[in-house]
């Protein structure tokens, strides 16, 4: 009993102490917070007024690239007395939700990284600054790939800047193809389907890999659609968008051919059965491990050499195979610039991030600038920049989901390609209609 009493007393004391400590540190925080403005007030006595720019980046702090970004941003900060950069690292997993919460509360940062899929939505949320006049007055404007800049332009206004590019190319394990007696990577879908059986029989491995689920699956689907001359949604005369497959039997059958291609890949065992529901991690990892021969993928795979030097040493690059028109998916990771009270300073920093110096240091193999192309992987990927297709600048949240579902219908449920094409066409228009972006509505 005695022991218990003392123990309780100690516990109670501990609680109180911690609670007080908590209160104390809150006060400390409060005084810190109130201390900050007074500092800047002191700063305003000096000739230049310092502006703090909030910059949310998804850099990887443990990678060399991440360290380089932090260093470059610091250099900029040090060389500009009037601008202070508040760089925060936030992973892509949560960046989207954090941005949405902050934008809603009117508390958005000045600049942030982002994914191309968010562009249409953030534009619709009216969160992005109009950068047209700054970009037009910029001496290095013509160094940015023109189709990249165009993809970030809505109704003639530049609403975001390119941060880096993720162009996709065909990567292949040369040794697996050699073992199957094949000397060159296939150029068309039919060639790929034609060699699938040989590769499987001679090496025991599948010829190809896809991502049937997750964020990457719509990116691959839009590429295959483009390779067969079909687009997801077209801009109509009223400035809004529409999927026109159902109005046009030719397009519908071409879209169905794409879904047929997915089914053929499965039926001819050109891909593993599991690939029906692979996400990008499974797709990348199995390729890096040499579990199958070819994949359409990006430059980041090069970074896997450190993890799997053995599996990566025979990887070669070619243009993606196609059916009608050579095309590849070009991911334009945007640098979002939000509406703020100090646009000039923000642009000064943004143009630094787009500059040759920064891009050379940070994105040697995937820069949005035509004058920054390194030897090796980057060069072969950048040659494909002109055939890159991008998502339309509409709200994509609902659309990418139905695209993913359409693949599951084709591959898991084995529904007929024509039916799926029709279903997807309708689902895309439904989604456009919900966000008020459907033409004719």
């Amino acid at each position: 009993m005695k022991v218990n009493k003392t123990l309780t007393a100690v516990l109670a004391l501990l609680m109180l102490a911690t609670l007080l400590a908590a209160c104390g540190s809150n006060k400390e925080n409060a005084s810190n917070a109130s201390g900050a403005p007074s500092e800047s007030a002191a700063g305003s006595k000096a000739p230049v007024k310092e502006v703090t720019l909030k910059f949310w980046s998804s850099l990887d702090p443990s990678s060399d690239q991440g360290k380089m970004i932090q260093q470059k941003v610091k250099e900029f900060d040090n060389s500009h007395d009037n601008i202070k950069i508040d760089l925060q690292v936030i992973t892509y997993d949560v960046l989207h939700d954090k941005l949405v919460a902050a934008i809603n509360a009117g508390d958005a940062p000045d600049l942030s990284w982002g994914l191309s899929e968010w562009f249409g939505e953030f534009n619709k949320l009216d969160a992005l600054a109009d950068l047209t006049s700054y970009v037009d007055g910029w001496a290095e404007k013509d160094k940015i790939y023109s189709n990249v800049l165009e993809a970030l332009t809505v109704d003639g206004k530049v609403k975001a800047l390119p941060n880096y590019l993720g162009i996709r190319a065909l990567l292949y394990h040369e040794n697996i193809l050699k073992d199957a007696g094949i000397s060159a990577a296939p150029k068309t879908w039919d060639e790929l389907l034609g060699i699938a059986q040989t590769v499987k029989e001679k090496t025991g491995k599948e010829a190809f890999g896809i991502a049937g689920a997750g964020v990457r699956s719509p990116q691959e689907l839009i590429m295959y659609l483009a390779q067969n001359d079909v687009v997801l949604a077209e801009k109509q005369s009223d400035g809004k968008y529409k999927n026109t497959w159902q109005d046009n039997p030719d397009q519908l059958s071409k879209a169905a051919e794409v879904f047929q291609f997915y089914q053929d890949l499965l039926d001819k065992k050109a891909i593993k059965t599991d690939a029906r529901t692979w996400g990008w991690e499974e797709e990348d990892q199995n390729f890096v491990l040499g579990q199958y021969a070819m994949v359409v993928n990006g430059t980041w795979i090069e970074g896997r050499s450190s993890e799997n030097p053995e599996g990566m040493k025979d990887v070669k690059i070619a243009a993606p195979m196609y059916k009608k028109t050579p095309a590849t998916f070009m991911e334009i990771a945007p640098l979002f610039v939000y509406k703020s009270s100090h646009p000039a300073e923000t642009w000064e920093f943004a143009s630094f991030l787009l500059g040759a110096d920064y891009q050379n240091a940070v994105n040697p193999s995937n820069a949005p600038r035509s004058d920054v192309v390194n030897e090796g992987w980057g060069k072969e990927f950048m040659e494909l920049a002109s055939q890159g297709v991008v998502f339309p600048a509409v709200s994509l949240g609902g659309i990418t989901k139905v695209m993913e579902d359409s693949l599951a219908r084709v591959m898991l449920k084995k529904e007929k390609p024509e039916d799926v094409a029709k279903w997807l066409s309708q689902a895309i228009n439904d989604s456009l209609s919900k966000t008020g972006e459907l033409s004719g509505s």
Binding site: N4, S63, Q88, T91, V94, N104, V288, E307
Partner: protein, 281 residues
């Protein structure tokens, strides 16, 4: 004795078998994390995954401790989680007592229903409203925002837990203390709490771990590294296209072990509370 010798031996063996099974189930992923954290990078993701490590390395631990802000995250998490635990424990002891002893009042009953309701809103829908509240209180990017939010999340369950533990304690004990002239708060602290020490430990463990593990709000409310907590901090090792598995697992191991060790020390209170309890005192 409660049972025969033979039966006793049988139950002892059975107990060991059961515990062994549970240990494997609980430990397997953790061991995998640990093994991953000491593997050289080129052995981590291979076609022949194995618990055997060829040339163990501490390089990932070195990277976590010296190459990242892990220690800051750890310190922040510890502070936030401790503050949350203390706050929710104090609040829920009183609320739980009221719920256990005074349900006859309408207001108390209504309150318990409201708390139950509040548990039914999915976290996603709290994200934006809570962000607004925190912004209006100028609490974005402070520890206080996290402590407030986590306390709110944990108080209802802690209250219900305390209530159900108080329910098992006979009211007569209090009455005799009341006659001795103890105040109500005195009764709670001097009579009830010592008896319900195991429950206090269980409840505070719950509050602590809830705050320790929370991810979403830890990321959304906090903007800078100096205030960031552990779980969001660890997830920074997950890059856009590539995950630094070695470092991520090393960081996870480092965040799990101290808590388990603290618990091992605490757990004896899980047993001692009642057996030395006040029925005899």
């Amino acid at each position: 004795m409660l049972m025969s010798r033979r039966k006793q031996r049988f139950f002892k063996l059975l107990t060991y078998a059961v515990l062994l099974g549970f240990s494997v189930y609980c430990l397997l992923p953790f061991l995998w994390m640990f093994v991953t954290s000491i593997k050289p990078t080129d052995q981590i993701r291979t076609l022949n995954p194995s618990f055997w490590v060829d040339k163990p390395t501490w390089k990932h631990f070195d990277n976590v401790l010296n190459g990242s802000a892990f220690l800051t995250f750890f310190k922040n998490s510890l502070f936030v989680a401790l503050a949350t635990t203390v706050a929710s424990l104090i609040i829920s002891i009183f609320a739980g007592y009221a719920l256990s002893r005074y349900v006859r009042f309408k207001g108390v009953k209504l309150f318990s229903v409201a708390m139950l309701l509040s548990q039914m809103i999915p976290g996603v829908l709290l994200l934006i409203p809570l962000y607004l509240v925190m912004k209006n209180l100028s609490l974005i990017n402070t520890y206080a925002s996290l402590i407030l939010a986590y306390t709110t999340f944990t108080v209802p369950l802690c209250t219900f837990m305390m209530k159900s533990f108080f329910d098992t304690i006979a009211y007569e004990m209090e009455e005799s203390a009341e006659i001795d002239g103890c105040s109500r708060i005195g009764i709670i602290f001097r009579i009830l709490l010592p008896v319900s020490l195991p429950s206090l430990v269980a409840t505070s463990l719950f509050a602590f771990l809830n705050a320790w593990n929370e991810f979403m709000f830890g990321f959304v409310f906090i903007n800078d590294e100096a205030h960031r907590t552990l779980t969001p901090g660890i997830s920074l090792f997950k890059g856009l296209y590539q995950t630094d598995w070695g470092s991520m697992m090393a960081a996870s191991v480092l965040s799990v072990l101290p808590i388990v060790i603290i618990f091992v020390f605490l757990q004896r209170f899980l047993i001692e509370g009642m057996t030395a309890g006040s029925v005899k005192g």
